[in-house]
């Protein structure tokens, strides 16, 4: 069930009416939301609802046991068991075939070929997100940052809540559990902001991202060798815009849907392409993942406490694993490695830059950062290293004329990049203007926007890119 579809609209209308009619019975409301979330997840494949329930049960039990255990060693064993089992499930579904294939290749290299079965498993949608969410909950309970949830229902809802279930943001227990404990409330500012975010997300996904994907990016990345430099350049810029519009649209819609049900999610994107360094980029891009990696991987590894070498080593490990989290492919690992390498170079530059050297203008940092990110998107989008190399080689081919990119697509690319230079919190400012409009006036405006978005979108909607992660 994709967000920008008619079936989801009917689903959400039912959930909205039922959830607010249970406003005064918070426990029943949460129970209903859990059931609705399972229906939402089961719509895709009902067999994996059991995985979701099992994961919630296990993590609830571990967190509860950790909170009741006073022996430090037992708590450590419990947290280790939780992390190992969570990552084990994730590895089994997501990485079994990948690592088995690597094993077969390794054995072949030593002339010891064996038939190791590949399972060709279906990857449960959103498993990376709810697994990370579960780990963060149990680790936070272990660290004493959050108390264990008062009921199993809260943990079930925290992990299964349908707006963030399949593609984030990774909402932590410290954000959600206190909200579940009280009866949710709605105000007009919140509702206006939510509806505007949903409309804005639909525009970004169904118009910009879909148009760029079908008109340019898919064609160029499918066969880079037969395209000239202009198409390839437009293709990578187009992919930068597409992936931002696609993923941030999902996040905007998720945040808006949750807000219409009375819950607030953390910010996940903050105009990432206006960053003047890669470090800043990671403070603006997929914030819930980057802060997760910082808090549960980078800092436990030692963070920046052990000197320059260990800091750079920790950055590299974090980014390599962050790349692997995105998918079972070496191109994702290389993507993470490129980011880790440039982040380390930035760290070294800050450490060893001569004091008398002038500071770069911000625009130079912005252009360099954007192009480093674009270079990494080539690795991220390409299906193999050969395709990525063919893409990079194509930048030398200026004799082939542009075949795919059109002025309209350049306009969309410009629009997608231009929205990064709007005043910060632009949607919030529009919310302030519109929140006091009478409902029919606001509804008319909203309907006009949705009508235009629907008139502009291409036929059919591709799934969100981050569904596969």
């Amino acid at each position: 069930m994709l967000f920008p579809t008619m079936i989801f609209l009917f689903f959400f209308l039912i959930v909205y009416v039922a959830a607010w009619s249970l406003e005064r019975q918070n426990a029943n409301r949460k129970f209903f939301l859990v059931l609705a979330s399972w229906v939402f997840y089961g719509w895709w494949d009902w067999r994996f609802v059991g995985l979701l329930i099992g994961s919630a049960l296990f993590n609830w039990w571990i967190a509860r046991t950790i909170a009741r255990t006073e022996r430090r060693s037992t708590r450590k064993w419990l947290i280790a068991l939780d992390v190992v089992l969570n990552l084990g499930v994730l590895a089994f579904f997501k990485y079994y075939d990948f690592f088995t294939a690597q094993l077969i290749e390794g054995l072949r290299f030593f002339h010891w070929e064996r038939d190791v079965p590949l399972l060709q498993m279906i990857l449960p949608v959103g498993i990376s997100f709810f697994t990370f969410q579960a780990i963060s909950y149990v680790v936070d309970v272990h660290r004493g940052k959050v108390p264990p949830a008062k009921s199993l229902l809260d943990v079930m809802l925290m992990m299964s809540f349908f707006p963030h279930l399949v593609a984030g943001p990774i909402v932590r227990a410290s954000d959600l559990l206190p909200q579940f404990a009280q009866t949710p409330k709605l105000n007009r500012g919140m509702a206006t902001h939510a509806l505007l975010l949903i409309a804005w997300g639909l525009f970004k996904k169904t118009v910009i991202a879909s148009e760029l994907a079908t008109g340019l990016v898919d064609k160029v990345f499918f066969d880079p060798a037969s395209h000239g430099a202009v198409d390839l350049l437009a293709g990578v810029y187009g992919y930068a815009v597409q992936i931002y519009c696609d993923f941030s649209a999902y996040t905007d819609i998720a945040i808006g849907l949750a807000a219409l049900l009375g819950y607030r999610f953390p910010r996940n994107f903050d105009q990432p392409y206006r960053s003047t360094s890669l470090q800043e980029f990671w403070r603006r891009w997929h914030i819930s993942l980057s802060t997760w990696l910082r808090d549960y991987l980078y800092i436990p590894l030692g963070g920046g406490r052990g000197g320059l070498f260990s800091t750079c080593r920790n950055i590299m490990i974090t980014m390599l694993l962050g790349g692997l989290w995105h998918g079972a492919s070496w191109t994702f690992v290389a993507w993470g490695g490129l980011h880790g390498g440039v982040l380390s170079i930035e760290r070294l530059w800050r450490q060893f830059k001569p004091a008398h050297w002038p500071k770069w203008p911000a625009i130079v940092g912005l252009i360099i950062t954007f192009h480093v990110v674009c270079l990494s998107w080539i690795l991220f989008r390409s299906e193999s290293f050969d395709m990525a190399l063919a893409y990079l080689k194509g930048f030398g081919n200026w004799s082939t004329p542009a075949m795919e990119v059109t002025p309209f697509l350049w306009l969309l690319i410009g629009l997608g990049l231009g929205m990064h230079f709007l005043p910060p919190r632009a949607v919030e400012r529009v919310t302030q203007m519109f929140r006091n409009l009478p409902s029919p006036v606001f509804a008319c405006g909203l309907a006009v926007v949705l009508l235009l978005v629907d008139a502009m979108r291409p036929e059919g909607i591709a799934p969100f890119i981050y569904y596969q992660f």
């Binding site: 410290s174 007009r188 509702a191 953390p266 409902s439």
Partner: protein, 248 residues
């Protein structure tokens, strides 16, 4: 005055000699609502330890200043009656103006308890800001008459619960109106979606209803805005690329 020795009580009525008919209530200090307090002088501080020999030159001699012992505070007594004759005093016999009573909680309503975990250092942490209904804007005032017709109430309600209820009503009306408008002006989408459903009794019924609905609205011209927007958009897509990508 009934007894000269007895202190004036708050309920005593005093007759003014010059005005036999006038009776006033004198202002008498109320006894304090806490028990009498007596103060004991503080105990003298302990003597400093003797300085070892040889260190006298390094350390200055300890100060000989001692705090003066505090005088014990006399216990509180009700004031004596004023020596001035009552007749010499001027009293305003007119009743005092009515004091407007108010509850301090009206001015400073207690803040609702917020869970501690939600209080983050970064106010920008959550994507949806915690905004209230705020003051009216020009837009709000311009359309207030229209909002009242459909039940919107733009003035601030007394309590947070009432405000939340109104906000929920407002949101529900927005969703309802926009869905209805979309059903009228975008019936084609409903028809397209229904045609993709797998054939079953229910979906076939829905397909027939959606098709009939879309056809009738098309006859009435309600699909015109969407169709025009779509055509204009397709034309703009084809701009600058010759005939490639032109709308079919």
């Amino acid at each position: 005055m009934t007894d000269d020795k007895r202190p004036i009580a708050p309920d005593d009525k005093i007759a003014i000699e010059d005005s036999p008919g006038a009776v006033v209530t004198p202002k008498v200090e109320e006894p304090l609502p806490f028990p009498e307090q007596t103060f004991e002088p503080a105990a003298p501080p302990p003597a400093p330890p003797p300085i070892p020999s040889g260190l006298e030159s390094a350390n200055p001699p300890p100060s000989t200043w001692q705090p003066a012992p505090l005088e014990p505070r006399p216990p509180w007594r009700p004031p004596e009656p004023s020596p001035t004759p009552v007749s010499a005093q001027t009293f305003d016999a007119s009743p005092p103006p009515p004091v407007e009573t108010f509850d301090a909680r009206d001015l400073h309503p207690p803040a609702p308890p917020s869970p501690p975990a939600l209080e983050r250092v970064d106010p920008d942490h959550f994507a949806i800001a915690e905004t209230d209904d705020g003051a009216d804007t020009v837009l709000d005032r311009s359309f207030a008459w229209f909002g009242r017709i459909v039940g919107d109430q733009t003035e601030l309600a007394e309590s947070a619960a009432a405000r939340a209820e109104r906000a929920l009503g407002w949101t529900s009306r927005v969703i309802l109106f926009s869905v209805l408008l979309m059903l009228v002006f975008n019936a084609k989408s409903l028809q397209s979606w229904a045609s993709t459903l797998p054939p079953q009794w229910g979906t076939e019924t829905l397909r027939l209803v959606a098709g009939e609905w879309a056809d009738r609205l098309q006859d009435a011209g309600f699909d015109e805005p969407r169709r025009r927007a779509h055509t204009a958009y397709e034309k703009s897509k084809a701009m600058g690329q010759g005939t490639r990508g032109a709308p079919q």
